[in-house]
Symmetry: C2
Subunit: 214 residues, 2 copies
Amino acid sequence: VAQKGKSLPPPVVRRLTRYLTHMQSLVEEGVEWVSSEELGEALGLGSSTVRQDISHLDYSGISKRGYETAILGKVLAKVLDADTEVNVIVVGAGNLGRALSLHGEFAASGFRICGIFDSDPKVVGRKIGSSRVKPMGELAATVRSRRVTIGMIAVPAASAQSVADVMVAAGVKGLLNLASAHILVPKSVAVVDARIVASLRELLYAIKVRRETA
Amino acid sequence: VAQKGKSLPPPVVRRLTRYLTHMQSLVEEGVEWVSSEELGEALGLGSSTVRQDISHLDYSGISKRGYETAILGKVLAKVLDADTEVNVIVVGAGNLGRALSLHGEFAASGFRICGIFDSDPKVVGRKIGSSRVKPMGELAATVRSRRVTIGMIAVPAASAQSVADVMVAAGVKGLLNLASAHILVPKSVAVVDARIVASLRELLYAIKVRRETA
DNA sequence: TAGATTGTTAATCGATTAACAATC
DNA sequence: TAGATTGTTAATCGATTAACAATC
């Protein structure tokens, strides 16, 4: 176990993912040690927050030196399940779905794309990278045979719920929802929203606030 | 002014963006009234949270009936600046950058793409939809002439900071960062992160927790 | 040893939830 | 009128920050 007690608070998990990517680049750069102060500075956080977060892990730094990048990286990878390959599928072969399927960073991060599905017969069969768009009818079989854990929803808002239902029925354990609709799933299935338009609106509000208070 | 006091807390802003999209679909469906209870149910929130959030706005519901979808929608649009067109650019013409540029939802949501830029000469000039990839050297001129407010970063992590610097120097007011690096900008510039791999890791952790507590 | 940096405790801050009087 | 639903206040809960003794 790479983790002391129970489950970590969501904000901590979000920061841990950032520590992990940062450790990976530090290791690559040949940096062996990092202090909570340095780590905080690089990521825009206080050193206190960093130490508090790391204290959740089953790993301790060393007083005068800080944290060992390679070890902390491994511990983080373990907690975040980043040391195992995960099979995912994408539903929706529009621009976004195609981009996700071709996105190199996924493979490099341990997410293996096992299929792209679309309900439009005109799109089914089209080539995307080295694979082809499959019909929705084949989704359940793929999820089972390839042991797919995660489904990514890249369809218009109106079809998001029905696509989610199909994936849940097929046995997917988590959904990454890129559509702008809220989707309902059984408690046993996890959902994380990743809506770009919503993020743009958040950004726009932050800009507005800066404009007004400047 | 469509807002009582000062600036809204970030979690409230995030939920308001969701209320807005929901109002738009309700209006489209012809639904005229919605209660805090119904709205909460549709979005996975408590009715108390919904009322608390809406109380931040310069708009009041009516006791026995709830909120008027069309009006609440307009008020939300005003607060979130969703009633004006915003000019954006994309840097990075890889899969993700191309997908963003072609993504129809942006135009429908008031975000107008004014250019796609890339530093790779082999990619510059390539056709994407109806426009062409431009060289980084033209970025500053475009930002000024087209009054670009937002820049989207869709380049590898290693180049994210330098791309951000170029955009900030050109006068962009906010950055949507899709790269997995943390970027540093002056306080006058807003940044929102939208990292898909980080979201996938969050999702993976949520799945792990469910597995262990089930 | 002296000094830097940790892990942890306690204090502050902010967000969510519950409860209820006001009101249409 | 009676009942449903609001806006708001207060209570709870959780997250962040500050401070500091422990320690390498």
